[in-house]
Amino acid sequence: MIKKGEWVRIHKNILEPSERAPQVPDDTKECPLEMWDKGFLTADADMGDEVEIETVANRIEKGTLIEVNPSYDHDFGKCVPELLKIDKQVREILFGGEK
C-alpha cells in the first residue's frame, strides 16, 4: 500500500496509435503517444493502480502508478577510450608530449 501524499510517477497513453496525427511517420504511428508525470498521490493506492496525483504546479493528472519516490538514473556512461586518444594527440601536437 502506498500512502496518500507520497511522491510518485505515473504513466498513461494520451493518444492511441489510431488517434495519431496524420503527418507522423509510419514507425511512430504504430506506437501510442505516451506520457509520464510526477506528483503527490491524492489517495492510498497500490503499484499499477489507476491513480490521481497533484503535481508541483497544483494540477491534477491521472495515470497508472509506476514508481514511488522516483529517481534519476542518467550518468556519465561507460568509459570511452577514444577520448583518451584525442587528449594525447592534441597535447602532443601543441606541447610536443615528452619529447
Binding site: I14, L15, E19, R20, A21, Q23, V24, P25, D27, T28, E30, C31, P32, L33, E34, M35, W36, D37, K38, G39, T55, V56, A57, N58, R59, Y72, H74, D75, F76, G77, K78, C79, V80, E82, L83, K85, I86, D87, Q89, V90, R91, I93, L94
Partner: protein, 468 residues
C-alpha cells in the same frame, strides 16, 4: 459544456488558445497576404534594449565573461595555411543562472508573463530553454510546466533530455514527459487551456528580443578589450532565435561583424521517427531544426515567429557529430573547460573557419552551455555505442548520421561544409507562395520577401517567376 479533447478538436482550438496564452493579437501586423510588419511586431510587443538589460541584470542574467581560447587557436594555426588562423573566443553563457544563454529569452518571457498577471508559464522544449524558464519562474514565484519529448516507444530516454528534466524539476517545475511525436503540441495546447498559464514560447518577440542583449554585449566587450568588434560571430543554429537575436543586438551596437550559423549535420534522420530518435547524439543545434526553421520560420508554436534567421545569416555551415565530440574533448584537455554540446557545435565550426582568416581576425562563438551527467561527451558517445552506432577514427566526411560517428583522425580533418543559402531562400519563397496560395505576390510581398532573404527585389521577382 465539456470541450472535446481529441486531437482534431484541440488542434482546431489552436488560434483561440494561442491568443489567450500569449496575449498578442498577431492580426494587427498582417497585410492580408505574404507580408507582415516584422519590425512593428518587434517594436510593439518587445522591449527596448535598455529595458531588456534592466530586466535581465535584475535577475542575474547576462554580463557573461568573454574567454580567449589561446591553445585552440594555436591548434587551429598548426592545421592552417601560413599566416592564417584567426583568434578564437567564446562568450561563456553557461555562467547564466540556468547554465545557458536561454536565460536571456526566459527572463523576458517570464517578466512579461508576470506583468500581464499570469499565474504560471508553460514551455514546450526538451532543451536548455526549459531549465531557463524554470529558473526564471522560480525567481518570479510563478508556477512552471515544461513539456518535453524524452522517450522512444521502448521507454528509453535520451540522456541529455533526461538530464534536462532533472534540472527543470530541481528548479521547481512540473515536467510532463512524452514519447516521440509532433503531437507534443497537442498536449501543450491542452495544458495551456487547462491552466490558463502564459505560453513562454521560444518564438515570441520578447523571447527573441531577449537575445539582443547577447549580441550587444559581445560587441561592447570586444570594443573594450580589443578595440574593435569581432570580425566573425558564429551562432549554433536550430530554431533561429539565437542567431536572429544575436544579429539584431550586433546591429543595435552598430557592429558589422559577419554572422555565421552552424548546425550539426543530421541529414537523413527523420525528426519525428520513433526508431531514429535515439540514433541522434544531438538533441538540438542540428540541421533537423536549422534547415526547416530557416526555410519557413512560421512553423513554430506562434502565428508569426520573431526568429527569422535568413534575414541575418550571411553564411550557414554544417559540422559533423564526430567533429563536435572531438572539439568538446579538445576544449577540456587544452583549455581546461568542460562545456556542453550547443556552444561546441559552433566551436567546431570556429576551429575550421579560423583557418580561412588571417591571424589578426577575431572569431567569437557566442555561447557555451553547462555540461554534466547525460549531456557530457562521454555519456553521449557511450549511449550512441549502446544503440549500435559505430564510433571510430577516420575522416568525418565519411560520417553517416544514425549509422556511425567518425572522430577525426587528425584535427586538420575538421571541416565546415557550406550550405547553399540561395537554395534555402528559394525554398522560403516557394513555401510563402504555397501557404498564401498565390503566384502573383503584391509589391509589398516582394519587398517583404527581399527582407526575409537578404536579397534585392529583382532577385525575388526572378525567383517567383522561375517558380511559376
Amino acid at each position: 459544456m465539456v470541450k472535446a479533447n481529441d486531437y482534431t478538436s484541440v488542434m482546431g482550438r489552436k488560434a483561440e488558445i494561442m491568443l489567450r496564452s500569449v496575449g498578442i493579437d498577431y492580426s494587427k501586423f498582417e497585410s492580408g497576404s505574404i507580408a507582415f510588419d516584422y519590425e512593428k511586431m518587434m517594436k510593439e510587443t518587445g522591449y527596448t534594449l535598455e529595458e531588456m538589460q534592466e530586466i535581465q541584470y535584475g535577475v542575474n542574467v547576462g554580463n557573461t565573461p568573454l574567454l580567449e581560447l589561446k591553445n585552440l587557436t594555436a591548434l587551429a594555426r598548426s592545421c592552417a595555411p601560413r599566416g592564417k588562423g584567426a583568434r578564437i573566443f567564446i562568450k561563456d553563457e553557461a555562467s547564466n543562472p540556468s547554465g545557458s544563454f536561454k536565460a536571456r529569452r526566459a527572463a523576458n518571457a517570464v517578466y512579461h508573463a508576470k506583468k500581464l498577471g499570469y499565474k504560471g508559464v508553460i514551455a514546450a522544449t526538451s532543451g536548455n530553454y526549459g531549465a531557463a524558464v524554470a529558473s526564471q519562474a522560480a525567481i518570479a514565484g510563478l508556477k512552471c510546466i515544461i513539456v518535453q519529448e524524452c522517450y522512444d516507444s521502448k521507454g528509453k530516454g535520451q540522456p541529455e533530455i533526461v538530464e534536462k528534466a532533472r534540472k527543470c524539476e530541481a528548479l521547481g517545475a512540473e515536467v510532463v514527459q512524452l514519447s516521440v511525436g509532433p503531437e507534443l503540441f497537442y498536449k501543450f495546447l491542452l495544458l495551456l487551456e487547462e491552466t490558463g498559464y502564459f505560453n513562454a514560447s521560444l518564438y515570441t518577440p520578447f523571447g527573441i528580443a531577449g537575445v539582443e542583449t547577447l549580441g550587444y554585449e559581445v560587441s561592447m566587450q570586444f570594443r573594450e578589450k580589443y578595440g574593435k568588434d569581432p570580425d566573425v560571430v558564429i551562432c549554433t543554429h536550430a530554431g533561429g532565435g539565437n542567431l536572429t537575436g544575436t544579429a539584431r543586438g550586433l546591429k543595435k551596437a552598430g557592429a558589422a561583424s559577419t554572422v555565421i550559423g552552424a548546425s550539426v549535420d543530421l541529414a537523413g534522420l527523420h525528426m519525428a521517427s520513433d526508431k531514429a530518435f535515439n540514433l541522434k547524439s544531438f538533441t538540438t543545434g542540428h540541421t533537423g531544426f536549422g534547415v526547416p526553421f530557416s526555410n519557413w520560420p512560421d512553423r513554430s508554436d506562434v502565428p508569426r515567429s520573431a526568429a527569422r534567421p535568413l534575414r541575418y545569416m550571411e553564411r550557414y555551415v554544417t559540422i559533423t557529430q564526430g567533429d563536435v565530440f572531438y572539439m568538446t574533448e579538445c576544449l577540456a584537455t587544452l583549455e581546461g573547460l568542460e562545456k556542453g554540446p550547443a556552444g561546441n557545435t559552433s566551436l567546431a565550426a570556429a576551429f575550421a573557419l579560423s583557418q580561412e582568416y588571417d591571424r589578426d581576425k577575431l572569431i567569437v562563438v557566442q555561447e557555451t552551455e553547462y555540461t554534466g551527467a547525460g549531456k557530457h561527451v562521454q555519456p553521449q558517445l557511450s549511449f550512441a555505442k549502446s544503440n549500435g552506432i559505430e564510433v571510430f577514427f577516420g575522416d568525418p566526411k565519411d560520417e553517416i548520421p544514425g549509422k556511425n560517428i567518425v572522430l577525426p583522425e587528425h584535427p586538420s580533418l575538421i571541416k565546415a561544409t557550406d550550405v547553399d543559402l540561395d537554395h534555402m531562400r528559394r525554398s522560403l519563397i516557394k513555401t510563402a507562395l504555397k501557404t498564401y496560395n498565390t503566384s502573383e505576390p503584391t509589391d509589398q510581398d516582394i519587398k517583404f520577401l527581399a527582407e526575409e532573404t537578404m536579397k534585392d527585389e529583382a532577385w525575388v521577382r526572378k525567383t517567383v517567376s522561375e517558380l511559376k
